[in-house]
Structure formats: C-alpha cells, structure tokens
C-alpha cells in the first residue's frame, strides 16, 4: 500500500487494449504478466505510473500497460526516466528494454543512474540477440555465437549485467525468468518497493532467433533459486561471487538488497529545495540578481 494509492487493483487493470507485436511464445508475454501482477500487488493507480522504454521488441512493453508510457529512442530509457522522476518524484517510475538497448547503445547510462540512486526500477528482458532487427549479435551473446552479423562466430566476450550493476553499487540487483512467473512477479514487486534504484535482469527467451539452450526448456535445466542455495541477499560479496556464473547458470532471486538503503537522489533534492527556498527572489524580480550597487 503506497501513500497515494489503494490496494484495490487487479492485474487486469494494468493491461491495455493494444495487442502485442511479439512472436507467439516470446518470453516477454510472461514479463508483462509479471509486471501486471507486481503492480496490482503494489496498488498504485495506473495514472501515477510512468513506464519508459527505448527501442526493441521488449521496448514495446509500456504500450501494453495502462500506465503513462513512453516508448522513446534506442538506448535512452534511463535518462528520460530520470527526468520524469526529478520532475515529479511522486510518480512510480519504471524503465524497461532489451539487452541491446540497455547494455550496448545505452550502456553508458546505467552506471550513472546507479551512482545517483534515483528511485527507479529497471527491468531488462535479456535474450542474447537482437530480435527486432532479425537476429544480430547482442552484447550478452556468448563468445563464438553465429548470427547474421557474426557469420564465423563472435570474437568478443559477453557483458555480465549482474556483475557490473553490483560493481557500480546498485542497491538492488535480481534476476528472474518466465520459467517461474510467480517468482518473477514477486521479484519485480520487491524491486519496485526497494527505496532506490533497482535492477532486474530477466532471461526472456527469443523463440525466433534464440538458441535452443536459451528456450524455456534449456533455462529450466540450468536454473537454481538463490534461496535454495542459502544465499543471503545482504551479502554483496557473495552476490558478486554468484553473479560470475551469469551465462552458465540461471540464478533466480535477489542477488543483493542493501539492508540499509541510503537516501535517494530524490530525497536529497527535496532537502536542498527546502533548504534554499527561503532564498528565492520573487520570479518577477529575478533580474535583481544582476544589480550592481
């Protein structure tokens, strides 16, 4: 229950009338279901939610919700989300996109959002491939992967989004998958409830261009919940240790949740505004700043 919302919402209240463009069987169908459920559990009315994305298959997702959506340009969901949050701190702000959007073209932004610790939840639908442009190498594709832009196999290592968000100092890092929808919904809910920046990587299979091993069956074969491993999400070093297995194992759950969340950027802004507001000249007299006596 939030300060302004009520608990009377159901998942269907967050579902829009737009029909998804996704391929039948795409993992993103489950992700959007998980988001509906998480939002219903939190209970903020749709018009108090701003949902921003970049470009890509998964970036269509805001349009499939009843929130205020912003399907922006490739790689830039995070800067736009930050502007929204700073302009209206009372909004619940979500950002989402794919691995190319978040870790390649827009890869420079996440470090800075993390160090600002704005209260924004970022959901990446990671499928190791560029689906919308029909199957090119992505920043999370395995080394050696053959695609239409890596005919003889890719020459580079994939990025490890879990490890680097932890290293940048994110206060909340988790991973989920459509193989466990209920688990995914509760992880997204927990991420939204975390007071500060929260990152959720979701292994969301591409049924059209994805490899066999990355389909639901393959994912199920390598998945393990962090809870079952006895992982303590307050232990950042243990989280980093586990995160090294990104790509080989599918660890589901919360890698790290800062047990003592520091003030968010928004908190600090409010403080500063309150401190300085007494110094404001009336706007119509702002040019008095330039009077030389």
């Amino acid at each position: 229950m939030s300060a302004t919302g009520t608990c009377d919402y159901q998942a269907k209240d967050y579902k829009s009338d737009l029909k998804p463009i996704w391929c039948p069987g795409c993992g993103d169908y489950s992700v959007v279901q998980g988001i509906y459920r998480a939002l219903a559990a939190i209970g903020r009315p749709p018009h108090e939610i701003a949902f921003v994305s970049g470009i890509g298959c998964s970036s269509r997702i805001p349009g499939y919700t009843t929130a205020y959506g912003f399907n922006s340009v490739h790689g830039r969901s995070l800067p736009i989300a930050q502007g929204i949050k700073l302009a209206n701190p009372d909004l619940l702000v979500l950002a989402a996109g794919g691995d190319g959007d978040g870790f390649s073209i827009g890869g420079g932004h996440i470090a800075h959002l993390i160090r600002r610790n704005m209260d924004i939840t970022y959901i990446v639908m990671d499928n190791q491939i560029y689906g919308l442009t029909k199957g090119q190498l992505s920043p999370t594709s395995q080394k050696g992967r053959v695609t239409c832009t890596s005919r003889y196999g890719s020459l580079e290592e994939p990025v490890n989004p879990l490890l680097y968000t932890l290293a940048y100092g994110a206060g909340f890092v988790a991973q989920a998958s459509p193989t466990d929808l209920a688990g995914m919904a509760s992880i997204i809910e927990e991420a939204i409830r975390y007071p500060g920046f929260a990152f959720v990587n979701i292994q969301s299979p591409c049924v059209t261009y994805g490899e066999e091993a990355q389909q639901i069956k393959g994912l199920k074969a390598i998945q393990e919940t962090l809870a079952s491993l006895g992982h303590n999400p307050a232990d950042r070093l243990a989280a980093m240790d586990l995160a090294q297995h990104y790509g080989e194992k599918l660890h589901l759950g919360v890698f790290y949740r800062n047990p003592e969340p520091p003030p968010t950027y928004g908190d600090l802004v409010k403080e500063r505004q309150a401190l300085l507001s007494k110094d404001a000249l009336p706007k119509e007299r702002i040019l008095d700043l330039f009077i030389k006596k």
Binding site: L18, P45, P46, H47, E48, I49, A50, V52, I55, R60, P62, G63, T66, A67, Y68, G69, F70, N71, S72, V73, R76, L78, P79, I80, A81, Q82, G83, I84, K85, L86, A87, N88, D90, L91, G108, H109, A111, H112, V269, R272, Q273, L275, L276, S277, D279, A280, K283, E284, R285, I286, L287, L289, F290, I291, K292
Partner: protein, 596 residues
C-alpha cells in the same frame, strides 16, 4: 571630449586583464555610462593569451565597437594573437609595457600608424608601489582613469569591495598602484585629449550581466523547473546558473553523463509536465539531434540553447561564429519544423529566451535558441527591465470533457492537441518516437503518417506571421538593405546609424525568428530593395542560402559572409553600403544612356 571609447587590452593569462576589464565596466556603470565588455582567450586552461574589450558610452551600446580607441598591450606576442579581434587604426592610442624593450617607433603593428604610442613601465610601477607585478592590471586602471577620465573614484571603490576580505594591506597596495598609474597619466598628457564627457545618468540603477546568466534568469522567470545538460564551452554558465538558483524555485538540475542524457532527462521532465531545457554548443547539438526528433514527433515542449562557437567539431571553442544555423534548422532526421530563435544582445536574450519557452509550450515543440559566444559571454550594463510586461504561456491542458475519451494527438483546428502528463487521471497515453494515431497507439500506416506530418508542420503556420519577431531599422522604403541576426545585428545597427547620418537611404532587417522562414516578412521587406547584403559570420553564407531556399531574393542582394573570430567592423559595412550605392547609381546611369 568623447562620448564613446573602445578599449582593448591583452596580456598573458595571469595578468588580470579580464579582471581589469570587469573593474572598468563596473566603475563605468557606477558613473552612469553604458558599457559592453567582451572577453577572448586562447583555449589553454591557464596562462596563454587573454584579452578583453570594453566599450563605454554615454549612449546605449549596440555592439563591442570596431577599431580600438585605446589599445593596451602587456606584451606584444599575446596582443598580436588576437588579430582582427583587437584592430588598431590611425585613431588609436597604443599603451604598452615598456619592459618589452621595443622602441615606440618599432612596435610590431604592420601597416598602421597609431595616433599616439606610449611605453609605460607598468610592471616596474606595480612592483615599486604594490610590491608585486600582479598589480599590473591596477596600474593600467590608474592610467585609464588619468588619461580618459573613467573611474577615478569608482574603480578603487570596486576594488576595495572586492578585496575587503583579503585585508587592508592588499587594498592599500592596490591603491598605491592605481595612484601611480593615474599620476603617470597626468604627467604625460595625451597629444589629443580623449576624456569622456560625464554621464547624465550617474547614480541610476544599472544591471550588469552576460548572455548566459541572462538566459538562465529568463528561463527561471518563464517557469522552467528542470535543466539537464553537460558542460561545454561556451554554454556551461547556463547550467551553472541553474545549479545556483533553480532549487530555490522547487526545480532541479541534472549534470548528466553526456549530452544525450542531458537532453533526454529534459525530454522526460517535459513529458512529466514541467517546463524543461538544455544548453549546449555545436558538437553537443549534433549529439542531441536524435532527441530533438523525438521531442518533435512526441510533441513535447522543450528549449535547447545552442551557444555557437567556431566549428565544425572542436573548431574554435572559445570564439564566436554563426555557423550552426543549418544544424539548428535541419539537424533532426525526418520531416520536421523546429523553430529557431536568436537573440542579438544580452538585453534581448531575456525576451528571446522567454519567447522560446512560450513557443515551445504553445506549439508543443522543441525550440532552439541560437545564441553565440559573443552574446553569451559578453557583459553589458543594462537599465532595469520591467518583467511584468512579458506574458508567460503554458501548454494547453485537457479539460474534463477532453479526458472523457482522451486522445493525446487529437486533430484540432489549430493542429495543437491538449496535453496531459503522468499523474493526471484519465490522461494516460503512450508517448512515442514511433508514428502514432490520435490516441498515441503505434502505427505503420502511410496515410496516418501523412496526416500526422501535416499536423506537426501546419501547426507552425501562425508563427510565420509573428512580425514582432522581426525588427526593421532605417528608412522602410530604402533601395539598399541589410539583413543580420545574432551578435552581428548589433554591428549592423551601428553601421546603419552611421550610414543614415551620411545620408544613405538604407534599412536593416533583424530577424529574431530564423526558422521557419517567415516568407511574408521578407517579401515585404525586400519589396523596395534593389541592392543589399546578408551579413553573417559563417563561411558558407548559411543565412543567405537559407533565405534563398525559401524566397525569391532581389537580384542585387549579395552575401557578406566570413568565418568566426573575424568580427565585422561598422566602418567596413558602411564602406560596403557606399559601394552598393555607387553600383546602383551606375546602373541607373547605364539605363539612361541610349543603346548603341
């Protein structure tokens, strides 16, 4: 006695040249004069060459002036680096550091014999009176007070205030340096007296500021509550102004990780319902162009200030130019009209910045304010501005009826659709860079795309009728004309006054709205024109070409264009106008003679 004096001073970075210029400008303002000060540097961080130009007048000032009346060189190597920015003529008094050991008849100025050349042991006087060469700039101020009658009292009053915290001893040392300079001047009177007449407005309230600070103040006055940006010379001071002040008004500023994130955050803030802006210079404008396209198709109000410098790329990062005109008008992909406005002075930067917000809000569009390094960093003395005379516009919000079945991009008579924002019940929609139907839902339909392009371009038609965004000076029916914008407009206004005083029948059009091109305004202006000049600081004659693209220009209209950091002088423009007049007379004579 003189009513107007132009000082140009140059030295090394540590010589305090700019600080001396500041003191001189403030003293002049305190004594009731109008003043303009420009600074110019090498691009070194510390040291390197540094210069300023201070123009002081009993009348309002339109530009930093042409040839110098007074040139001060603390060393010749640095002075000469500024070339055409500090032009010396036969009417210039040249004052230079005697320690350079160059005889007065051998100073390294080629092709010109100044009115008078004086070597002054500036460093030696500073050392003997203040105990340090760092007081050289104060000696120079003393010389200026002695020879030209400016700041005899006010300069030291200002310095006292500035140094009060650093102790009485330092103040006294500066006083001795100042007195020594003044005494030297008294003992060596100029061949021709150049004292400035006393101002009649002594004691009146004056503001002193530069274009960047004025832009920031205007934005906050307009109601801007968010700034997202990235440091880049020469626009950074706008962000600095926001970091100093916007919090007080409940707003926020984000120094982003790059230019794209800066404008991205501003786009987000605008989507969330707040007035927002970003500022940059040439290379940053290129990086922001994708986001500008997004703001155009999502119909989000946004102000982008581009403080132009020499380009392309890093170009001349500390010098002025007007060469971002094409980039401002055309840099986003797709079929887009994005209004471009340009101030011509520090004073009208207030009005033009406010106008940019009004246009952005009313038309739901990104708007570029095309400032330039000269306006942005020059300081002007200003009479107080009555801000209450200006109207502030806000975006049209949906009414209760609109929200019954809300369509964000609804077709309306004026093509402008009421805009909701997150938090508004009943107003939820999908903002997007993808083409969309009236509700905001994505589409691939060619017919919708055609209709939406119509909506997004036709909405600007009324803007082209905004005659108040243009000023015509001179004789409205004149056959000879000039067109100039930005900082060049001020030079042309002075040239116009000189030409009119010499009896030339001439006029000047100053556009504040550069794009979309207001064909009607130009056609009216050009109706009487047989000869003319489009005067601009671009190498490619961008303004001339932009006009030619939209308007059938008079055959006799030519371009006078050159690269930045080569300022136009009022005198050379007047000479060019005389040349046009003689051409015109010759062609008339030619017509009268029978054909053989």
């Amino acid at each position: 006695m003189r009513k107007d004096l132009v000082f140009g001073m140059a030295g090394s970075g540590g010589d305090g040249i700019v600080s001396a210029g500041d003191s001189l400008l403030q003293a002049a303002a305190a004594e009731g004069y109008h003043g303009v000060m420009t600074k110019s540097f090498g691009s070194q961080i510390r040291g390197g060459e540094s210069s300023c130009r201070v123009r002081i007048s009993t009348d309002p000032i339109l530009n930093p002036g042409g040839n110098l009346d007074v040139a001060v060189a603390l060393n010749w190597e640095d002075f000469l680096k500024f070339g055409a920015e500090l032009p010396v003529s036969g009417n210039t008094v040249v004052i230079y550091e005697a320690a350079t050991n160059i005889p007065v008849d051998q100073i390294p100025l080629v092709g010109v014999t100044p009115l008078q050349v004086i070597a002054v042991p500036i460093a030696e006087m500073a050392k003997s009176t203040a105990g340090t060469e760092r007081a050289k700039n104060t000696v120079v101020l003393g010389l200026i007070a002695g020879w030209f009658g400016i700041g005899a009292v006010a300069v030291m009053k200002g310095i006292r205030k500035k140094l009060a915290k650093k102790g009485e001893e330092l103040v006294e040392a500066n006083q001795r340096a100042f007195d020594a300079g003044r005494a030297f001047a008294m003992e060596h009177p100029l061949k021709v007296s150049m004292n400035v007449v006393a101002s009649e407005t002594k004691g009146a309230v004056k503001l002193i500021t530069d274009g960047n600070d004025m832009c920031g103040a205007a934005a906050i006055f307009a109601g801007c509550q968010f700034f997202g940006g990235y440091p880049i010379t020469p626009s950074t001071e706008i962000m600095q102004f926001f970091t100093d002040h916007v919090w007080k008004y409940g707003g926020a500023v984000l120094q982003a990780e790059d230019e794209i994130a800066g404008i991205g955050a501003a786009v987000g803030a605008s989507f969330a319902g707040k007035k927002a802006m970003t500022a940059t210079s040439g290379p940053g404008l290129s990086l922001k162009s994708e986001m500008m396209g997004l703001a155009s198709i999502a119909e989000l109000p946004l102000v982008i200030v581009d403080v132009q410098r020499g380009g392309p790329s890093t170009g001349l990062p500390t010098k002025t130019e007007q060469s971002d005109l094409f980039a401002a008008a055309f840099s986003a992909h797709g079929d887009v009209i994005r209004p471009v406005l340009a101030p011509t002075s520090v004073a009208d930067t207030f009005r033009i910045t406010l106008e940019a917000f009004n246009i952005a809000e009313y038309y739901q569009t990104p708007v570029i304010v095309l400032s330039d390094q000269e306006i942005a960093s020059r300081k002007e003395t200003l009479d107080p501005i009555d801000t209450t005379q200006f109207k502030i516009l806000n975006r049209v919000r949906p009414t209760g009826a609109d929200l019954q079945d809300y369509k964000r991009f609804k077709q309306t008579e004026n093509h402008i659709s009421p805009i909701s924002h997150p938090g508004m019940l009943g107003g939820t929609y999908l903002a997007s860079g993808i083409e969309h139907v009236e509700s905001g839902a994505p589409t691939n339909s060619g017919s919708v795309h055609q209709r939406m392009n119509d909506k997004r371009t036709k909405k600007f038609d009324p803007l082209k009728d905004r005659k108040d965004l243009f000023t015509v000076y001179g004789n409205p029916d004149a056959p000879i004309a000039m067109v100039a914008w930005g900082s060049v407009a001020g030079v042309c206004r002075e040239a116009l006054d000189m030409a009119l005083a010499e009896g030339l029948n001439v006029k000047l059009l100053v556009p504040y709205l550069l794009y979309p091109v207001a064909e009607g305004v130009y056609n009216d202006f050009f109706a009487s024109v047989q000869k003319g000049l489009v005067i601009e600081q671009t190498h490619l004659a961008q303004t001339f070409k932009l006009l030619r693209m939209h308007i059938d220009l008079p055959k006799g209209l030519k371009s006078l264009a050159r690269s930045g950091a080569n300022p136009f002088l009022p005198g050379e423009i007047v000479a060019a106008l005389h040349h046009l007049l003689s051409e015109l007379q010759r062609s008339h004579e030619g017509k009268l003679q029978p054909q053989e």
